[in-house]
């Protein structure tokens, strides 16, 4: 069956509660170790090997075998691409023996590669090729299970970056620029980090604050939270806490954006198991139910550079849409793991989602309060990308663990019954709403 592009996407206001609210559950997660780069030698640390590692871990967590999986939703993403996120095509030459005899398995991992190389994935009836990045991928998985395309979906998200840098190739390395880049790259503006910096500068002007005052405490807190995952980049490779002084002493990447406002490029893979709520009842772990998922872009860009007004309106809309479909109110949300691929996303999302009552301009005071996991406002308890590296999975893993009551050192001391998790860069509306209780 061929479905229209974006068939899973919930991107409209006014559609009411998601019809499948609470009928899909997440029952397993897995995460490979997070490395800075693949070393080009260790065949047990390739992106492909890590995909199988994460998938097996997620299946074990759910108490399932590969043979139980009938849906594989694998996103062949690569972070090192030229301009748009496509594979950097940067694997060493010549290639290795099969299965590492092409880019597939080294710089990307497709569903086809995983099906062929992971033992036991023999009962797939749904293995789509066009899978979006993890924000919408999680929504796609929820919708696929809800609509009966599969009963047990294995979601695999690869964060490959052999180059260890973002988007330094392709047109960015050339003499000419075309398409949208003719309006931006001519002056050196080459991506979200720059537009986000401009928006945050406007934020500081409008709300009478400074970059470091708003962002230093929240970045430091994320690093602390990230160190409480055993698999995170910082736990494995730089196991010491960042301080406010470290943050303020760090070099600028795009002044006033500092090094620690940017997430580390990494090589890692995460995996998740989605199934029906009915089937989840008898599985190994306490089910974490999906209340809603949203996606799509925030809205049309008015001019060359997005403005604070635009960004706030896009994220405000994402919040309205998500709350509407989930049936939640801001005061119902216990765990809040928004996207932080650049730190300035954090004040915008906090205020748009009105988490813990935050209003426009409140982020500085909020982030300078007690946002630790054991305090009253445990913001980004998963540590986000800034705390673990750009896996884009910590938000989801933490949401699941918190709602299970299995977050260990990170377990919040406040109520943990509902969660919002996201990979939603810029004005993206890709948020996932979770709960451990659908009886109320």
């Amino acid at each position: 069956m061929t479905q229209p592009a974006g068939w899973w996407r919930r991107d409209k206001e006014g559609t009411g509660i998601w019809p499948h609210r609470g009928k899909v559950a997440i029952t397993g997660w897995g995460q490979s170790p997070v490395d800075r780069r693949w070393d080009g030698v260790s065949m047990d640390k390739t992106l492909g090997a890590y995909a199988m590692y994460a998938a097996k871990m997620a299946l074990d967590d759910a108490g399932l075998k590969p043979e139980d999986v009938d849906g594989l939703i694998c996103c062949p993403d690569s972070m090192a691409g030229a301009t748009g996120g496509s594979s950097a095509v940067w694997a060493p030459r010549p290639y290795f023996e099969a299965p590492y005899d092409s880019e597939d398995g080294l710089t990307i991992v497709t569903g086809g590669w995983l099906q062929k190389n992971m033992p036991g994935l023999t009962n797939l009836k749904y293995n789509p090729e066009q899978v979006p990045a993890i924000g919408e991928q999680m929504g796609m998985a929820a919708q696929a299970v809800a609509e009966g395309l599969c009963q047990v979906a294995l979601v695999v998200y690869t964060a490959g970056n052999l180059q260890g840098r973002y988007r330094m190739g392709g047109e960015n390395a050339g003499d000419t620029v075309s398409g949208n880049a003719q309006w931006t790259s001519v002056y050196g503006q080459a991506g979200l980090g720059y537009t986000t910096t401009g928006v945050m500068q406007e934020y500081c002007q409008k709300y009478g604050t400074t970059w470091d005052d708003v962002l230093a405490p929240v970045v430091v807190n994320e690093h602390i939270n990230g160190l409480m995952h055993e698999w995170s980049y910082y736990t494995l490779h730089e196991p010491y806490a960042l301080t406010i002084e470290d943050y303020k002493a760090s070099r600028f990447v795009t002044y006033p954006m500092r090094l620690f406002d940017n997430d580390r490029p990494v090589n890692a893979v995460g995996a998740f198991i989605f199934t029906t709520a009915e089937r989840a009842k008898d599985m190994k772990q306490k089910p974490v139910y999906v209340l809603n998922h949203t996606g799509g872009g925030g809205g049309p860009l008015r001019s060359s550079a997005p403005t604070l007004v635009e960004m706030e309106s896009w994220v405000d809309r994402a919040a309205r849409m998500g709350y509407e479909g989930s049936g939640l109110k801001p005061s119902d949300v216990d765990i809040f793991n928004p996207y932080d691929g650049y730190s300035p996303f954090l004040p915008i999302s906090l205020e748009s989602f009105q988490w813990k009552g935050a209003k426009k301009g409140d982020a500085k005071d909020f982030f300078n309060g007690d946002i630790t996991v054991h305090g009253p406002f445990p913001h980004c308890s998963g540590g986000g990308n800034l705390g673990v590296g750009r896996t884009r999975t910590a938000m989801y893993i933490d949401g699941i663990e918190q709602l299970r009551g299995m977050a260990g050192e990170r377990q919040v001391t406040t109520r943990a019954e509902t969660a919002i998790c996201a990979f939603a860069p810029g004005g993206s509306a890709a948020y996932l709403y979770l709960s451990n209780d659908i009886t109320s």
């Binding site: 075309s178 003719q182 002056y187 406007e202 600028f252 795009t254 002044y255 001019s303 060359s304």
Partner: protein, 135 residues
């Protein structure tokens, strides 16, 4: 500073041709009297295809200015750090353009300051709009 050279397409060619003539032109909707930049096939506000190129004053002001310390555009790496400012046009502050505001030292660009356009040669056949402080 060497900049990447824009490759005009069918929609953008009049803009870049005008730049070569030392004129700043912006897409203008004749139905709802709105300026839009970058150009689009239809008006962003009313959807009309009744669009024209309108020469503007080339006056504006600096909205924000960051500094590219560690950027992605290879051709500009030798000149890092450099300014990256957002300029809003006097005719309509909703219309913005980027600039490196040449001649202004990094981290010293005055936000809100008045600027005017000039045209910088990035190849023997192409000029691009740039902005400098007024007065």
């Amino acid at each position: 500073m060497p900049k990447p050279i824009p490759v005009p397409d069918e929609l953008s060619k009049p803009f870049w041709d005008a730049a070569n003539e030392g004129r700043l032109v912006i897409h203008h909707c004749k139905d709802c009297d709105t300026l839009q930049h970058p150009p689009r096939p239809r008006c962003r506000d009313c959807g009309s295809e009744n669009l024209e190129w309108k020469e503007v004053s080339g006056k504006g002001r600096i909205s924000t200015c960051m500094v590219i310390d560690d950027g992605r555009i290879g051709r500009m790496h030798p000149d890092q750090p450099f300014n990256l400012a957002t300029i809003i046009l006097d005719e309509d502050p909703r219309v913005n353009m980027y600039s490196n505001i040449p001649g202004v030292p990094v981290r010293q660009a005055p936000e809100g300051a008045a600027v005017e356009v000039f045209f910088e040669e990035v190849s023997p056949t192409q000029k691009v709009p740039e902005w400098r402080l007024v007065g």
